[in-house]
Point group: C2
């Protein structure tokens, strides 16, 4: 059994290879380029770890892990087009570097190659894995659509926002774990706990992400906070603030969003603090994290086998900031 770091290193080493043929470089170089800018490869490693929870690594787990990472990158390439994002990880996005038409196609061919990896799975598990993969892929598209809708809407309720985040972010973590569990020979009950662990972990992670974008230490966070506030992006914090603010506070918040003054970030953060959304979001994150860990606890294997997944959860969601 490997630690989280060891599996992450092993996966990255294996994934760091050519995934596309050389036949049409105008199409495949942009796809390889995007993969080369890296990433934490969290999702495929979750799949491998979930497999190891129940038994030694199934050779098919590497194929499924590749498929998951390619699918994730397919969504990023297309999301960047939709969001008109010029940069990702500090380098040019595919549509910025190669143009939109090629970026659409590079994403398209990437999801197809993801399915090519899935089709290397032995026939015993293929149908089951495909079924989870397809449903999840559909849900991720639904989440992205809702995210775009919500950005245009004046009001979004907390329930709606949690639902969107679940689809856009959490279900892929959940499915990665579940698929790994299947390859490890997990029972249905344990698969459900794995899925629920990933789903709640994903929400906790997003709450942390929203929190750090507002209140993060620029030294540790790696970028200047306030990006979401400047863009009027709907986040856990903004939605909570709008829900709990007094009339005066709400009007001030809305005015800041509309007028974009110089000190918008600072004044919005002040209002967030007045509404107590900083403490509230820490509590909410802890609540989801506890739910996640409860499901991990409930998986019927000896607890020493759960150590890598526990490490991963702690790596993703720091509980002490």
């Amino acid at each position: 059994m490997y630690s989280f770091e060891a599996l992450a290193k092993e996966f990255s080493g294996r994934f760091n290879t050519k995934h596309f043929p050389s036949t049409v470089p105008q199409l495949y170089e942009p796809a390889e380029y995007f993969l080369s800018i890296g990433g934490k490869r969290i999702r495929p490693v979750m799949c491998l770890m979930a497999n190891e929870l129940f038994g030694s690594l199934h050779p098919d787990a590497w194929h499924v892990a590749n498929a998951i990472e390619l699918f994730h990158n397919f969504t990023l390439i297309h999301d960047d087009i939709m969001d008109k994002a010029p940069l990702r990880r500090g380098v040019q996005t595919v549509h910025t570097k190669y143009g939109e038409p090629t970026a659409v196609l590079a994403g398209d061919v990437m999801i197809v190659v993801a399915y090519e990896y899935l089709n290397k799975i032995g026939s015993g598990n293929l149908q089951k894995i495909l079924s989870i993969f397809n449903r999840t892929a559909r849900e991720v598209c639904e989440g992205q659509q809702l995210d775009m809708e919500f950005e245009k809407q004046q009001q979004v309720s907390m329930n709606e926002y949690v639902h969107m985040i679940t689809l856009k972010t959490s279900v892929l973590l959940a499915a990665s774990l579940q698929m790994g569990g299947i390859l490890g020979g997990s029972s249905e009950g344990n698969q459900e706990h794995l899925h629920a662990f990933g789903k709640n972990l994903g929400i906790a992670f997003q709450i942390q992400d929203d929190y750090l974008d507002a209140f993060g230490d620029p030294e540790k966070f790696g970028k200047q906070p306030g990006g979401d506030i400047r863009m009027n992006k709907k986040t856990f914090l903004l939605i909570r603030a709008l829900e709990t603010a007094t009339d005066t506070q709400r009007k001030e918040l809305v005015r800041l969003m509309k007028d974009n003054p110089e000190d918008k970030v600072q004044r919005t953060l002040g209002l967030f603090r007045e509404c107590g959304v900083d403490e509230w979001s820490k509590d909410l994150k802890d609540k989801y994290m506890e739910k996640a860990l409860q499901h991990l606890d409930d998986i019927a294997v000896i607890s020493t086998r759960k150590k890598p997944l526990r490490e991963l959860a702690d790596f993703l969601v720091q509980r002490d900031y």
Copy 2:
């Protein structure tokens, strides 16, 4: 055994249903909208007919036919974005009606649902069908990329153009037939003939399409000819003309493309005729059609069973204009 028309009607009746859930109508309505604008449903019907060549219709053939048609529509939605096409079949394209981000996602979710249909196939044939489907999907993306590249290039050779058309158009016809053959229990040898039949038929069809866009009777063709010429689109005719023209003719052709005079279509057609590309393209189409029909002949089943595919070939590629 059904005739081509009967199968086309039966398929359209079955396909004319909701393919997407109601959960996120902002995403799924655009997808259903695009399917509702119709189409000849040639590819799925080819799959059904190829199945029937060897035996009665396998229940899985309907799933594969659905997947093929959804995949084809996925490519159309994304191609329309890349080509900035405002209309298809006389109505608004998805990105024109719903915006580009939603059109990207509607395409994405459509290919996922295509894979959901494939995953309904019994496990005996799943891996084989998926393998053909995936390879073909990749090739269609390659073809679209080459098509876009060629439009920017000054010179494209006839071989390059045939290769691009093969990828962009023909391989999906070929794969539809081959997948149908597999479900009908066809031998590998017969599958290869089916594939080659579809590939050559696709090229013949494209040559006809290019010819009709230049020389077609507007009454029969349904639209004013010359669209490709006005857009300087690379076609079998233009590439052949540039390859065989005298220096004077080539200069005149290039000048017409650059200057876009009022009488551009008429004068280009004159040059096409001078270079004999009208007769040449009929001959070339006949050559590919004969190759296609030879492969149909070579399939080892009694010839009466081939009648529907023969009808389809004649429907797609008229030999008397």
